[in-house]
Each structure stands twice: as C-alpha cells, then as structure tokens.
C-alpha cells in the first residue's frame, strides 16, 4: 500500500482540508471523491450539498452525474434546484465550494467556457454551471486541478469565474493566495521538487519562503478511497434493463 498515484495524493490533500461539520457544495468528479473520502474518514458530519437539490447526502458510491438517484435516496432532503442557489449558496450558508476548470490563472481565475475566442472557439467547453456563484458566495473556495503549462496559464481565454480561491490543490502540491491575491506555492508532495511544480506552471510561479511538507496518504485514506472508487466503477459499468417497466 505504499505506492499511490498523484491523483490519489491530490484527492487526499483536498479531503484533508475539510473540517468535520463543514457545509460543502460538491461538484462531480474529483471534488465529489474528496468530499466523500473526508466524510468516510475524519469528517463524518460533513454536510454535502449537490446542486441537483440534494442536501446532506451520504452516497454509498460516487455519482457519475450530479443528480444520480443514489444522491436523492441518501439525502436528508431533496429540494428544488433554485433553492440550492438562493437559500443555500447566495444566502451564505455554504462553507466550502469546490471548483475545477480547464484553465486557471495566477490569481485563481478559472475558465471552463472556451479555448479560443468566445464567438468562434477552437474548443467549446461545457460552460459555467454553478461556478460563478460558488466562487462568489462560498465562504471558502478550493480548486482542484492537475498541473500543466497548458492549463495553468498566463492569460485565460475566458473568465468563467472570478479568482477568489483559498487553495489550489494540484497533483504536485498546493498554492495559496498571498497578500496581493497572487497564488504562491506553499506545499509540495513527497517526492516532488519545487522545480517540477514550476516547470508545470504557465506563469513564473512564486514560492513561499518555507514549503510545508505534505504527509503521504495514510493506509486508511488509500483503502477507503480505493474501495469507494472500486464500488463506483462497478456500479457505473452495469447496463440498465427496463424489462419490468410499464409491464
């Protein structure tokens, strides 16, 4: 169990940032894995809110979509989506919001809209979803993204959400905003050098005077995460048959 992937390290590093009892606005993918890992380890009373309208949900397998039935069936309450954005997010009831994106800039601005010009994009990305208001209203915003010079860019092609990031957790380390708002490398994972992090960043990355060490995933963290992902893969691979439906 000593070997682990950089994705696993990133997920574990994100999970550790969540204090027990926090109210989290959870996105699909890595944020969902991190939040549920935290809930299944050190933070059993984490309140997970998915934008589909499920509040206080405790899924047994990770959802593929933001609105899988698993989320509804394990939720404390299932409410209309508009109330998630008004009564919870905009009203200031969300402690932690998680975001990812196709591009991030040095102040934590995010792009998930287009690569190239908006009117004639080279790549049309999915778009904003909940991101602009999560970035605006969650007390604390965490961004989780794998690093590359293609995605950590000097200039965003489109600003989908404003920079207001408490921590940017990558597959190499962690960046946090300095006093002027520019992201500073504050942690690197075991076996990663500062030069590696710099090389995978598209702007000249500032580095903190003191780089904090990050403990590798514990055996428990790895076991819980892998178990969750195994259950999830099995659940998502099964084709659905409707033979009984309408019979």
């Amino acid at each position: 169990m000593s070997a682990y992937t950089s994705d696993e390290m990133m997920t574990v590093a994100a999970a550790r940032r969540l204090r027990n009892g926090a109210v989290c606005f959870v996105g699909i993918g890595l944020p969902s894995a991190a939040c549920n890992l935290a809930r299944l380890t050190h933070a059993p009373d984490l309140v997970l809110i998915y934008e589909s309208g499920t509040v206080g949900t405790r899924p047994h397998v990770l959802p593929l979509s933001i609105g899988d039935g698993e989320l509804a069936e394990t939720a404390r309450s299932v409410i209309p989506l508009p109330e998630i954005f008004t009564h919870y997010l905009q009203r200031g009831r969300v402690d932690v919001g998680f975001l990812g994106a196709a591009q991030v800039d040095r102040v934590g601005g995010l792009n998930s809209t287009v690569i190239g010009p908006y009117a004639a994009p080279q790549v049309r990305l999915p778009g904003a979803g909940g991101a602009p208001e999560i970035a605006a209203h969650a007390r604390e915003v965490l961004v989780v993204m794998k690093q590359s010079t293609r995605t950590f860019v000097e200039r965003l092609d489109f600003r989908t959400s404003a920079g207001r990031v408490r921590a940017l957790i990558t597959d190499l380390g962690v960046m946090e905003p300095g006093a002027d708002g520019e992201l500073v490398l504050t942690q690197v994972y075991a076996g990663v050098t500062v030069e590696q992090v710099r090389a995978a960043c598209g702007w000249p990355l500032r580095v903190a005077a003191r780089i904090a060490p990050v403990a590798p995933p514990t055996p428990e963290e790895l076991a819980v995460l892998r178990d969750l992902q195994t259950r999830t893969r099995a659940a998502h691979a099964a084709r659905v048959r409707l033979d009984g439906v309408g019979a």
């Binding site: 979509s65 989506l81 954005f85 778009g127 404003a162 409707l242």
Partner: protein
C-alpha cells in the same frame, strides 16, 4: 380542464411546431428522452432549445438539425466529457449554425423563476468578475437596488412556448406527481405557455403525500403514458440512470458518421419509444 391523454406522437405533433421555444427539463433525473426522440422523428426545425444542462438528448436534437438556438448553463456529458454534437455545432456549424444564450446555473434558475412568477426579469448576485455579461449583454444587465444602492445582475424571464417534463405518475384527472430530484422542473412548468408531460404510468389515484410536487391537471395541455420515457436518464422508483450508456455515448457521438448512423438506426428507424428501447437493448 382535464388534459388530453394522447399518444406521444400526437402530443408532439399538436404542440411542438417549427420555430418555437421549447424547454425539455429535468436535472439529470426525469429527462424526457422519449419526447425528444419524437421531436427528432417529426423532423422539427428552427427550435430554440432551453435547458440548464443540455445532456445527450439536446446533443441529439442539435446534431439532427432541429435547433437554431440554445439557452443553457452547462453543456457536457456529466462525469464523462464533451457533448460532441453540441461542440461540432458551435465550433464547425455542423449541421448548421447554433446561436447561444449562455448563463450560469444560478442565472438559469432565476430566469425560469421569473418566468414562472409572471415577472419580466429576475435578479441575482452573480456573474461578477466574469466575462459572461460581456459575452451576452443582450440577456445580462446590471440593476441597482433602490434601497441599498448595491449593483446586482438582472436577467430576462424565460417563458418557453412549450415545456416538456417526464414524471413518474399522473392520475385520470391529469394531476402529475414528480418525485426525487426535480431540478428547475417546477419553474420551467409554471413559466411555460403550454405544458406537455410524459409519465411512467397513469393511475386511478396519485397517493401523493401532502406537500408533494403535484402539478394540477388543469395546467397540463397533454399527457402521454410512456413507460421508460426518461431512459437513459432515470425515473426514481422505476429504473436507474444508465450510466454505462452515458459513457458509451461519448464514442457514438464523437464523429458525424457514427452519430448519424446511430440515430438512423435507433431513433429515425424506430416507430416509437418502446421500439427504441428494444433497439438499444434496454428491453426485449
């Protein structure tokens, strides 16, 4: 008073006409796939399609040339990746150009809610510090609070000509009960000029608990019983989401050829939703 109980073919033919603004809602759950397929079979054109999350059914409608515009807030295959047909329409104008009116989820919810409330616009604290307002100035404007002086964002109401929902159950009066994740279905229904509903089953008595999300029959224009009508999306209590199909769609939709062939076989080549389900191996 009581809605028309029609075969889906007749309900779509009666209410979805070329050029209309149509919202097929349901957030991941209860997406009206059967209705979308029937719109494709009837080769509707120039629709303005409205949906928070376009999903596979809008990928199909767009790829088959039914749409001239899209109003939306997140256009991907959830947990999988791109909607390739949506991308192809925007990036390469195939099969034709697609105008877009793009928002955040919070913004779309506000627009539906304003439409549902009979207001010309809605407000939110949103879009601040983003490029969205500049990209869509016709539909995103600042507004000043007359009490605090704070600047907020105003968005115009959405009032679809037709909203189509899928639900688990209707009774013989046409009262419709939706259960589980409802997304913005309530607001999309109340905002619509005409509401068309497909249901898993029509029953003598709804047996809905008090305070359930029940749409009174007198607000519904037409109801079609379509078992499995949300597949490959899902209907809580009836069948789960076919996540494996959503993953498979990535390959099907990746090229124009594979997409067109699949649609020819499974949608244009099937007479109705029951035949569609048989053809994709969901039943039979």
């Amino acid at each position: 008073m009581i809605p028309a109980f029609l075969p889906l073919r007749d309900a779509i033919a009666a209410h979805v006409r070329d050029g209309l603004t149509v919202a097929l809602e349901g957030f991941t759950h209860l997406i009206p796939f059967a209705a979308g397929h029937e719109i494709i079979r009837q080769r509707r054109r120039d629709l303005t399609l409205v949906r928070m999350t376009p999903d596979l059914i809008y990928d199909q409608l767009i790829g088959m040339g039914c749409a001239r515009a899209l109003v939306f807030s997140w256009g991907g295959n959830p947990g999988v990746g791109s909607l390739h047909r949506l991308r192809d329409a925007i990036e390469q104008q195939w099969p034709g150009p697609l105008a877009i009116d793009e928002h955040s989820h919070a913004g779309m919810a506000v627009r539906y809610a304003a439409g549902a409330a009979g207001l010309p616009f809605g407000i939110l604290r949103g879009y601040t510090g983003t490029d969205l307002a500049a990209a869509n100035a016709a539909h995103i404007r600042p507004i000043t609070c007359p009490f605090t002086g704070e600047t907020l964002t105003a968005l115009p109401a959405l009032t679809p000509d037709v909203t189509i929902l899928h639900a688990q159950r209707a009774d013989r009066e046409g009262n419709v009960w939706l259960r589980g994740i409802v997304g913005a279905s309530r607001e999309a229904a109340m905002a619509a000029r005409t509401l068309v509903v497909t249901v898993e089953e029509v029953v003598d008595a709804l047996d809905a608990p008090m305070n359930a999300f029940v749409i009174p029959g007198w607000q519904v224009a037409a109801i079609s019983a379509v078992p499995g009508g949300a597949y490959p999306s899902y209907a809580l209590g009836h069948y789960p989401r076919d996540n494996a199909f959503y993953q498979a769609w990535d390959g099907i939709a990746r090229t124009r050829e594979s997409f067109t062939a699949w649609m020819a076989t499974h949608v244009l080549g099937t007479a109705d939703h029951a035949a569609f389900l048989r053809s994709v191996g969901g039943t039979g």
